[in-house]
Amino acid sequence: MKIPIMRRVLDENDTAAGELRSLFREYKLFVINIMGSPGAGKTSLIEQTLTRAGGMKIGVIEGDVASSIDADRVGRMGAPVVQINTGGGCHLNADMVKLAVQVISITDLDILVIENVGNLVCPVQFDLGENAAVIAASVPEGDDKPLKYPAAFSTASVVVLNKTDLMEHMRFDADRFEERVSALNEDAPLIKLSCSTGEGMDGWMEWLERGLRSARE
């Protein structure tokens, strides 16, 4: 006898992510999930965002296999932050974020930034209840990354290309990178910036402010 099921295997994570999404909506929070390779500059992007936050209150959830290095960096800038150590786990899941939001006081926040474990593979499969999935890539990684990790780039809400100040030292074809992102995901804007020089950060901040406005509507 064949019993039809038609149920997602990750249904438990989906349920937890749905609960988070309702919670975030209740507080009119704009929540982003930053994913990218180790060393792409995810934490640097958060630091640069905090410097330019103006009146926006930003809280941060840091995900790493081990250490509190990232939470310390962000905490030094005065932002509320909680570190999740996955102890070998290669991605954050919605249950981990549910625990983290009990520690961090989200009621006072405008924006919640979740920095996922550095990895371009499995984090994209786990919904965290976020409004936007941010893929952070960087020039030294090469312009072929969209083709090598198509799931990450195809499901992104926005793609950030960091370390543009290194472009002249690298064999990186910016047009080709842009073309590849568009081939996989034409709706995702591409924001080129450098966390070292600050070039392009205005475009990122505008994107973030637009997101916050839409979350408040």
Binding site: I3, V124, Q125, L147, P150, T155, L184
Partner: protein
């Protein structure tokens, strides 16, 4: 490593459904897995084989049907399965795409007796 919790979820679902149907054993679980999904079929089978021992699902096969990656062209609207390597629409050569298939991962059915 995330295949272990996925295999556990598949087993739990199969056991619950078999119990509801009053079945004595589970013969097969049919899965649909998108080719862009980050889960590995071989790894799922291996874990499923281990954790299903001494349950009604012992010896059951995990049948995985792969769903191809599919993009919708922003230029002409046609759907296509991309090449490995550079990606563009084979109908109009546009490089504006949207992913419409290939991330699926669900239990389609459970076969019991």
């Amino acid at each position: 490593m995330h295949e272990l919790s996925a295999a556990q979820r598949i087993l739990d679902t199969a056991l619950t459904e078999a119990r509801k149907a009053g079945a004595s054993s589970i013969l097969r679980v049919n899965l649909k897995l998108g080719e862009l999904s980050t889960f590995d079929a071989g790894c799922l089978r291996q874990y499923f084989g281990i954790i299903s021992k001494e349950t009604q699902a012992e010896g059951a096969s995990l049948d995985v049907e792969h769903i191809p990656v599919k993009y919708e062209c922003g230029g002409c609207g046609s759907n296509y399965v991309p090449n490995l390597g550079e990606i563009w629409c084979p109908a109009c050569s546009s490089k504006k795409g949207k992913l419409v298939g290939g991330m699926e991962f669900y239990i389609e059915s459970v076969e019991v007796k």
